[in-house]
């Protein structure tokens, strides 16, 4: 029999460009301990473990088996998933199905990455076809740049609009002790930062970080015992389409639109702009923070810059986006999606500290990766 599922605990590391002071296993363990402390649980309370990262970023094969000491998975059920950038949300979703299936009651879902241990661009290139794509493909940047260019040309969006997204997220990150980048920046700083791939400049793009994040998910009965305010998972959706990067419809993230539409339908959301109180999106570059907001149904095509400049997406606005500072300010790739889900859960629990935005009843977390694939999780403050 199926059961409802809630996030009851979340822990993350202080994300940095290089955590040379710990091994990967120790990094994972930091996040796991913090999640257990957060939920006031011990390792013995965990029924199963889900873990994910990208093998070639640390060059560890079978990281689920390697990481057993870090996750506390010794003599427990352990499963590994990996789907590229969406890995972090993939483990959260797998944790959700572990519990929703009623096979397990309390599940730990861990995403992690030590990007300092390899060349991230080189590693990213290995995600693409070895014969047809890899020799010319230069990593994640040009695709994101192209996505931005098509959108900008269509709606007259400017580099300044993108910069405003980066400024917003950095201002939020300044309040988040776990963020990798926290020094405030201005629109001019962004516009003057080195051009990497037009229109993306250094301050428009996410960093590469070392970090781990762990969620504890529980079934309905357990969740109520574990914490006063569980963050209930209302619905989850995943959409993949293409196999080759050159097939992607750049300029509009159709997988995100489809996944959101499904998520809203399953949860009975009719007007996401009114019914959703906070968004943590997997926003790898500033421009994605505009067009993807449109794909998510929060405004019409070309309307995102208006929302942005009106301050609606600021921490104090009607539709706060990335109150944690988001992916632009911490990007331990396999953990990035897990952090989105954890931050939304914290907002719903009213425990987001200095990042807390007022009156959060529902929140949306997204994942992005692979061949422009999307994951979406909708969470709320009561079971549904």
């Amino acid at each position: 029999m199926a059961q409802r599922v809630a996030v009851v605990g979340f822990g993350q590391t202080h994300h940095k460009s290089n955590r040379g002071d710990v091994t990967g296993i120790e990094l994972i363990n930091e996040a796991v301990r913090r999640a257990l402390e957060d939920a006031e649980l011990g390792p013995g309370d965990i029924d199963a473990v889900v873990i994910g990262n990208m093998d070639h970023f640390e060059n560890i094969n079978l990281a689920d088996m390697w990481g057993v000491e870090g996750t506390g998975g010794y003599l427990k059920p352990v499963m590994k998933l990996t789907t590229g950038g969406t890995t972090g949300t993939t483990v959260a979703i797998a944790g959700y199905y572990h519990v929703a299936s009623s096979l397990f009651d309390v599940v730990l879902a861990v995403g992690w990455e030590k990007n300092s241990e390899s060349d991230t661009t080189g590693g990213t290139i290995t995600a693409f076809d070895p014969v047809w794509e890899r020799f010319s493909f230069p990593g994640a940047l040009p695709g994101l740049a192209l996505d931005a260019v098509v959108y900008m040309q269509k709606y007259g969006v400017t580099e300044k609009d993108g910069a405003r997204v980066a400024v917003r997220d950095r201002a939020n990150a300044a309040r988040n002790p776990y963020a990798h980048l926290r020094d405030p920046i201005t629109v001019d700083d962004v516009l003057r930062s080195p051009m990497l791939s037009y229109p993306i400049k250094l301050l428009d793009i996410c960093p590469r970080s070392d970090g781990a994040a762990a969620l504890i998910l529980a079934g309905e009965e357990k969740a109520r015992k574990i914490c006063r305010q569980p963050a209930w998972i209302w619905s989850v959706s995943v959409c993949h389409n293409y196999t080759y990067t050159s097939d992607v419809n750049f300029g509009y993230l159709d997988t995100l639109e489809q996944a959101c539409r499904e998520t809203y339908k399953k949860a009975g959301i009719k007007d996401p702009g009114k019914e959703i109180d906070v968004i943590e999106m997997y926003q790898p570059c500033s421009f994605a923070g505009l067009s993807w907001l449109e794909a998510m149904g929060f405004c019409g095509p070309g309307e995102a810059p208006g929302l942005l400049w009106d301050g609606a997406t600021d921490a104090g606005g009607d539709l706060p986006v990335n109150p944690s500072g988001g992916v632009l300010n911490a990007n331990p790739i396999g953990a990035t999606g897990t952090i989105r889900v954890g931050e939304v859960a914290r907002q719903i629990q009213g425990r987001a500290g200095a990042c807390q935005v007022p009156e959060v009843k529902t929140g949306l977390a997204t994942g992005f990766g692979g061949c422009y694939w999307s994951d979406v999780l909708l969470l709320g403050n009561r079971p549904r």
Binding site: H56, N61, M79, S101, N241
Partner: protein, 380 residues
């Protein structure tokens, strides 16, 4: 778990040493179509997909990306388990049990011929303390075999009974790669790979793919095949460092089996299970896994096997398909065990069919030296 989720379709490729003519996607397309045909449905009936692959084997980060079109995942909810196929199947099962989906396609692919197996398995070892020692799957398993044989007095001849039996069983399996008539003496005389393991104690390397379709009760009732119900499943992981484990022990398998038997309501597997498909990459492993699964006491796997208990006409036929020793397509191998157990319950296993199968067990291992295990109980 009573009649909640059924396996309604399975598909396999022929397992071969080098499938030079097929890409990963070609193999996945073949088995996806075979499983759909087996179930009597089309891709439109599949509402979600779980793929199984390993980034090191494929030499590709996000190795599942190469097969998205071939498994019919376009626009669908799809995810990827990196580990043995039994774990991918478990995730597929969970997705149906959650009520979110009605029909899950699980598909695993691996081409051992395309990567350097020693280096790929070496990469599963700790990079600082172990990797430079040159350990890989065979040498690590040799340590385990030595420890197991030494602890319990199991002999090389007892271990050799397993490849003799499994290669013989493989003669009745059209998908198997290595069907042979062997004697214990031939196994014992085969070249030593890493003592005490010899060439014929070890599985070959294979290319191949396998697909399994799970459906909820409502959907299962509308398919052409006889539904094979998932009665129980359990998985469990042991410690990582080989030096932290008693390699002769089967703690994680005992844990996985306990969970699966608990869900299936099995008290004594010897009385309630009719046929067994285990993931035995080496002969000694079948003996150890039978102990962990509760078919005999610890250390008795050799005696149990020598007593003829696991032969096709014995009381508990083990690996009628020929097992992993007859075809080892990496992490596909566990999913093959589920597919074969399903065919046995359906009575569709052809020349390798065991008479009167009502309940079958399928088993997969994950990691080195059986660090992780996954156990399935299937029934008609």
């Amino acid at each position: 778990m009573l009649d909640e989720v059924a396996i309604v379709g399975v598909g396999q490729t022929k397992y071969e040493r080098r499938k030079i003519g097929e890409t990963f996607a070609d193999l996945v397309f073949e088995v996806t179509n075979k499983a759909l045909e087996d179930a009597g449905i089309t891709i439109r009936d599949i509402d979600n997909v779980v793929t199984v692959s390993n980034d090191f084997q494929d030499g590709r980060t996000i190795s599942s990306m190469a097969v998205m079109d071939a498994c019919g995942a376009f626009g669908k909810n799809v995810s990827t388990v990196e580990g043995d196929g039994t774990l991918g199947a478990l995730y597929g099962l969970m997705r149906v049990l959650s009520g979110a989906f009605e029909t899950t396609l699980v598909v695993a692919h691996c081409k051992c011929s395309e990567g350097d197996q020693d280096l790929i398995w070496n990469s599963a070892f700790d990079p600082v303390y172990y990797r430079r020692l040159g350990l890989e799957a065979v040498s690590a398993s040799a340590l385990q075999a030595r420890r197991y044989m030494d602890k319990y007095g199991v002999t090389g001849e007892q271990c050799a009974l397993v490849p003799v039996k499994n290669h013989r069983n493989a003669r009745a399996n059209p998908w198997a790669q290595e069907a042979m008539d062997l004697t214990v003496e031939e196994v014992m005389r085969s070249p030593v790979l890493a003592s005490p393991l010899k060439m014929l104690d070890a599985a070959p390397l294979s290319d191949g793919a396998c697909a399994v379709i799970f459906a909820n009760r409502w959907k299962a009732g509308r398919m052409t095949t006889k539904p094979v119900w998932v009665r129980g499943v359990g998985h469990c992981a042991d410690a990582y460092y080989l030096g932290d484990r008693d390699l002769a022990g089967v703690d994680s398998l005992t844990g996985a089996a306990k969970r699966a038997y608990g869900l299936a309501g099995i008290v004594d597997p010897r009385k309630e299970i009719d046929v067994v498909e285990v993931f035995e990459a080496f002969g000694y492993q079948e003996l150890m896994w039978l102990e962990g699964l509760g078919f005999c006491d610890p250390g008795q796997g050799g005696v149990f096997t020598a007593g003829g208990n696991t032969l096709m006409d014995g009381p508990w036929p083990v690996n009628p398909s020929g097992g992993v020793l007859s075809a080892h397509p990496g992490l596909v191998a566990g999913l093959v065990r589920i597919a074969e157990a399903c065919l046995q319950v359906r009575g569709d296993a052809g020349a390798r069919q065991v008479d009167g199968v009502r309940t079958a067990l399928a088993h997969g291992t994950n990691g080195l030296c059986g660090q992780g295990h996954c156990v399935w109980v299937l029934g008609g």
